[in-house]
């Protein structure tokens, strides 16, 4: 039992009780995607293209279908064509016409690993045998992997009719550039003319995978009457329902999706891969069909985050005031349009109050798996470039890197390049917290050098529904519809307990399936504790309103004469009369006589998400002979609004920092000359392991979001943005060599150090 909130305003908010799902997870009782099975189920497997780019001339499935134990085979023919229609998915946008092609290739295979057929059989072994019996006649086409290559005029074109959007007049020829975006504020040209120092650099990052521990898994059961049930590991079971309904021409009400416990998603589980295939196979066979991806399939065919090339130009006065800033972002979309180049552009300079900004972005397709969201999609890529350039500026001006950022920090009233004017934000407070931290005030240990970087993310609101039900004994169930990835059930229960004035243990938060609660947008955009939290608070307020009505009936007074305090109905004033307070248990006991079950509901489209800012401080040591980088100390400071459950807020900061450090140092998709991914496993796709890292220290800067009753801001995405440059800036200060291309892996850093050695010796 927690000792009470550190915040005097609250009893529960700010405490750190055990999470409701904790015991099941540590005992192994919790059931994740692949743990669900049904009697009589078949196993589904996917045949994937071995080629990065090929026309599918024909597919012969007859031999596979004839194999004993094979119950069905599906190809693109089994899925209806879709309209050219953009729909939101998490923080990204997708085109239904593309989605149906991504789950099952139609005219062309567009990346190695692209599904071309799927089978359902009585065992996995037979399903695998059947895959080998499917004959696909491919016409192999030249492929293109790199974004810069894909933008060249003579590059192989992935989509024949693709004319670049956002260019006036529109180009007449198809290309791999899906879209151009542009953001302007002030007059960049005039700004640069005023500048006393201008710094310009080119940067790049590689595609990285979200690296969730749990591979994609789905179980689908289609009944004779057309009703479909799905169990899926997903960040949004309502999105699974919506996509599957569209892709299979079903009503959403015919599909009931249950989100299983989820072993990580980070944005990568906001799309569908297996679910529509499993449903279609189940429809064809009349049996439940279970599908799971191998790790290799996860790497080859599920959305990584894009890599990108970024050109940055920053102009400043000698006192450090930035007067003009430009950047150009070319971003991998994968095989279909829809990279997060928009947010990358919008976030690039959002930490700063700059009068003249010009930003251009390009969304570029190439023969890679279609990218998916990954924590603050796009933002780490532009921040890597901008925050590195600011470090160069600080070095050249001989300014403290935090002071340089303080001089230019965005504040309430700052207008961003993308047009929004900030309400109350915590950029300045976060910089100051980092600056006054024990870490920043102490010198790096001998051999270590220090880097600093900042990051910004919008956070989102969107649609949420919630319900609060009182049981016969007065205990409470809080029902919502967002898969819990980061401890959100605990936070929702804490807010409900606080609002209702009852103990945390008396509130059980559950996540309902799509047929048992109203619509909820995905768990993404750092929205659940904020937006679904607001829906829960409102459902509890609705419940309290109902409780007052019931108490009023019992006392025979007006509902307005009843107040709610400490979990009890009480007379609102002495003139109401003398009544013993009524607890939830007392109200529940008499509910049958006062109007039936006592429930509260809320449904909202939530706006007013408070943006978040992070400032990270990183100490590294570089082994000059090997190029190996050791992170010795790391602190993440962030304005987190109100930390409802501080442990899970800290966990978000630590997890994001670790993923960002991996992005900076070793993680990358490596393609060979044949356009095939060479490292589809955790041995060669190098995420950090525990022994690579120090304890990540956190500083929670609580600047409450004025639009939320408890001041909640999203916190999950910001922390992945600063680490790339925090690490890179520390490496630059440790070695004198500025790395502009990620990852800063030992071979790359060693080559850069060796190349710089003669020059540094001469200097």
């Amino acid at each position: 039992m927690p000792d009470g909130s550190p915040n005097p305003k609250y009893k529960w908010i700010g405490t750190r009780p055990d999470r409701p799902d904790g015991a099941d997870k540590v005992t192994g009782r919790a059931r994740f995607g692949a743990d669900f099975n049904l009697p009589g189920q078949l196993i589904g497997k996917v045949l994937r293209s071995p080629h990065p780019h090929a026309i599918i001339k024909s597919i012969d499935t007859s031999k596979a279908e004839a194999l004993a134990g094979v119950k069905a085979v599906v190809t693109a023919k089994d899925f209806p064509e879709q309209a050219n229609l953009i729909v939101p998915t998490g923080e990204m946008q997708v085109n239904l016409r593309d989605i149906t092609r991504n789950i099952m290739a139609r005219e062309k295979a567009l990346y190695e690993g692209h599904p071309v057929a799927a089978v359902a059989a009585v065992s996995e072994a037979i399903a695998k045998q059947a895959l080998a019996l499917i004959k696909v006649d491919y016409k192999v086409l030249p492929h293109v992997i790199d974004v810069a290559d894909a933008m060249k005029p003579n590059a192989p074109v992935l989509h024949d009719g693709m004319i670049t959007e956002g260019v006036n007049p529109p180009p007449t020829k198809a290309s791999n550039i899906a879209k151009r975006v542009e953001f302007n504020k002030g007059d960049a040209k005039a700004g640069f003319a005023e500048a006393e120092i201008v710094i310009e650099r080119d940067y790049s990052t590689q595609a990285v995978h979200q690296g969730y521990i749990e591979p994609h898994a789905a179980l689908a059961s289609a009944a004779e009457d057309g009703q479909v049930q799905v169990w899926s590991t997903t960040q949004g079971h309502f999105q699974v329902r919506g996509f599957c309904a569209k892709l299979l021409n079903l009503d959403t009400s015919q599909i009931r999706v249950t989100a299983t416990e989820i072993g990580g998603g980070f944005g990568g589980k906001t799309v569908v891969y297996l679910e529509p295939l499993a449903i279609r196979l189940s429809q064809k066979t009349g049996k439940p069909v279970k599908m799971t991806m191998t790790r290799e399939e996860v790497f080859r065919a599920s959305g990584p985050a894009p890599g990108g090339n970024v050109k940055v130009r920053i102009g400043a006065k000698k006192d450090g005031r930035i007067v003009a800033a430009e950047c150009t972002v070319e971003m991998q979309a994968g095989a279909f349009p829809g990279s997060p180049v928009g947010p990358a552009c919008m976030c690039s300079y959002a930490c700063y109050d700059i009068d003249n900004v010009h930003i251009v972005g390009f969304d570029v397709v190439s023969n890679r798996p279609k990218v998916a969201a990954y924590r603050a999609p796009g933002a780490p890529i532009s921040a890597w470039a901008v925050e590195s350039t600011l470090d160069i500026l600080a070095q050249q001006l001989k300014m403290d890197p935090i002071d340089l950022r303080l001089k230019n920090a965005a504040k309430k009233g700052t207008k961003t390049a993308y047009g929004v004017t900030f309400n109350t934000i915590g950029m300045v407070e976060t910089l100051e917290a980092a600056k006054s931290s024990e870490h920043y005030k102490s010198k790096p240990k001998p051999g270590y050098a220090r880097g600093v970087a900042a990051g910004f993310w919008f956070n989102v609101g969107a649609d949420s529904s919630a319900a609060a039900h009182v049981g016969e004994d007065g205990s409470v169930t809080v029902i919502s519809g967002n898969p819990d990835i980061g401890g959100s059930r605990a936070s929702l229960a804490l807010m409900a307990a606080e609002e209702l004035g009852v103990d945390y243990d008396k509130v059980r938060p559950v996540i309902a399936d799509t047929a048992s609660i109203g619509f909820n947008f995905v768990t993404g955009g750092s929205r659940v504790t904020f937006a679904t939290g607001l829906a829960v608070v409102n459902s509890v307020r609705d419940l309290i309103r109902e409780c007052k009505v019931r108490a009023a009936k019992i006392w025979n007074v007006d509902p307005e004469a009843v107040m709610w305090e400490n979990g009890m109905a009480k007379p609102a004033g002495s003139n109401v009369g003398e009544f013993e307070p009524l607890t939830l248990a007392a109200l529940a006991a008499q509910a049958g006589k006062t109007g039936g079950p006592i429930n509260g509901h809320a449904q909202l489209n939530v706006t007013g998400a408070g943006p978040g800012f992070g400032v990270h401080v990183c100490d590294v040591k570089v082994d000059n002979d090997t190029g190996c980088v050791t992170v010795g100390r790391y602190t993440a400071a962030q304005d987190v609004g109100t930390a409802i459950h501080p442990s899970y807020v800290e966990g978000q900061l630590q997890g994001g920092a670790v993923q960002g450090i991996g992005w900076a140092l070793n993680e990358e998709y490596i393609y060979n000359a044949k356009g095939k991914l060479d490292n589809p496993g955790f041995l060669d796709y190098r995420m950090p392991v525990a022994s690579d890292l120090p304890m990540i220290e956190t500083i929670l800067v609580e600047v409450p979001n004025p639009t939320h009753p408890y001041g909640v801001r999203g916190v999950g995405e910001v922390p992945i943005i600063p680490p790339l440059a925090a690490v890179g800036n520390a490496v630059a200060r440790a070695t004198g060599v500025r790395m502009t291309d990620l990852p800063i892996s030992p071979p790359r850093l060693s080559a850069a150090l060796d190349a710089a050695a003669p020059k540094m010796a001469a200097d």
């Binding site: 072994a125 090997t626 070793n666 190098r686 392991v689 022994s691």
Partner: protein, 294 residues
């Protein structure tokens, strides 16, 4: 998918007979930390699996006249807890203890590491530098070969059908001798060596009397680098000798450019690790303790 038979061999003869009968479809199961992973990924499809962990001589460590004979399937964790072996051959034991993580250590064996025949196997360069001998049994009897002659190429050993590796013998060692193994991995554990380097030294005073140098992950099999050893012998490990030995290591490399490292990088690191490992081995002779991996 075809059926797999699982057999537990009671003694070495049993194991050899089972392997001979399997006609090339047999696989010895030691710790299984390579074999099971390979079966899962489909790169190995055994017909018969022969578990040797119930054969006492294959899971024990015996000392005789100063030499140690280590059962091929002895778990790495057991080897790491053998104080005397660790004191005598700190370099080999640290190499064996670098394999995987705590969990993997409970199962993984030096014999499995050698028989898997990866050029990047961690214990192998250390064993080659140490002059360890592999004891083999088969339908035609027993034979012994130096570890550096055991592998034929990536994933291939020189074992004939029905032959198994029974044990590894570490030669007798004086007080004036020690060894070290270093590997370069981009992470700190759970990774595969980009380059591995084993050095074994015998000193007379401050002069190197004898040396053996070995490199992993820079050629199709683990290399014994005589030229590097020669550069060290007779020296006091001064910079000139170390530079010459490092150059010999770099020259011996015939690596590939791949996802794990470039030719340039591997060639350079071979020399860097040689210098560091040689100094650690000398320190150990002088009673200075060392821990580390790069």
């Amino acid at each position: 998918m075809s059926e797999i038979q699982y057999r537990v061999a009671k003694n070495v003869k049993d194991a050899c007979a089972a392997m001979a009968a399997a006609k090339g479809k047999g696989y010895i199961l030691a710790g299984g930390t390579d074999l099971l992973v390979q079966m899962k990924s489909g790169t190995r499809e055994p017909g018969v699996i022969v578990d040797v962990k119930k054969i006492p001589e294959m899971v024990s460590i015996v000392e005789k006249n100063g030499a140690f004979t280590v059962g091929a399937a002895t778990p790495a964790a057991v080897i790491g807890e053998h104080k005397k072996l660790k004191k005598t051959w700190p370099g080999v034991v640290e190499a064996i203890n670098l394999i995987g993580s705590t969990q993997v250590q409970g199962r993984a064996s030096a014999g499995g590491n050698l028989c898997n025949a990866s050029p990047a196997a961690d214990s192998v360069p250390a064993m080659v530098a140490a002059g360890v001998v592999a004891n083999i049994a088969g339908p035609k009897g027993k034979r012994s070969v130096p570890v550096e002659k055991f592998c034929a190429g990536p994933g291939k050993t020189n074992l004939k059908t029905g032959e198994i590796l029974v044990s590894l013998t570490f030669p007798k060692r004086g007080k004036d001798a020690s060894d070290a193994y270093l590997r370069l991995i981009p992470r700190t554990e759970m990774d595969i060596a980009v380059v591995g380097c084993g050095v074994s030294l015998t000193m007379k005073g401050d002069t190197v009397k004898d040396a053996r140098v070995s490199l992993g992950a820079v050629a199709p099999t683990v290399l014994l680098v005589d030229k590097a050893a020669k550069a060290l012998i007779g020296s006091k490990l001064e910079d000139k000798a170390l530079d010459a030995a490092a150059q010999a290591c770099s020259d011996a490399c015939t690596p590939i450019d791949d996802k794990r490292g470039t030719i340039r990088y591997r060639t350079k690191i071979a020399g860097v690790l040689l210098k560091r490992a040689a100094l650690i081995a000398r320190d150990r002779i002088n009673g200075i303790e060392h821990r580390g991996h790069r």
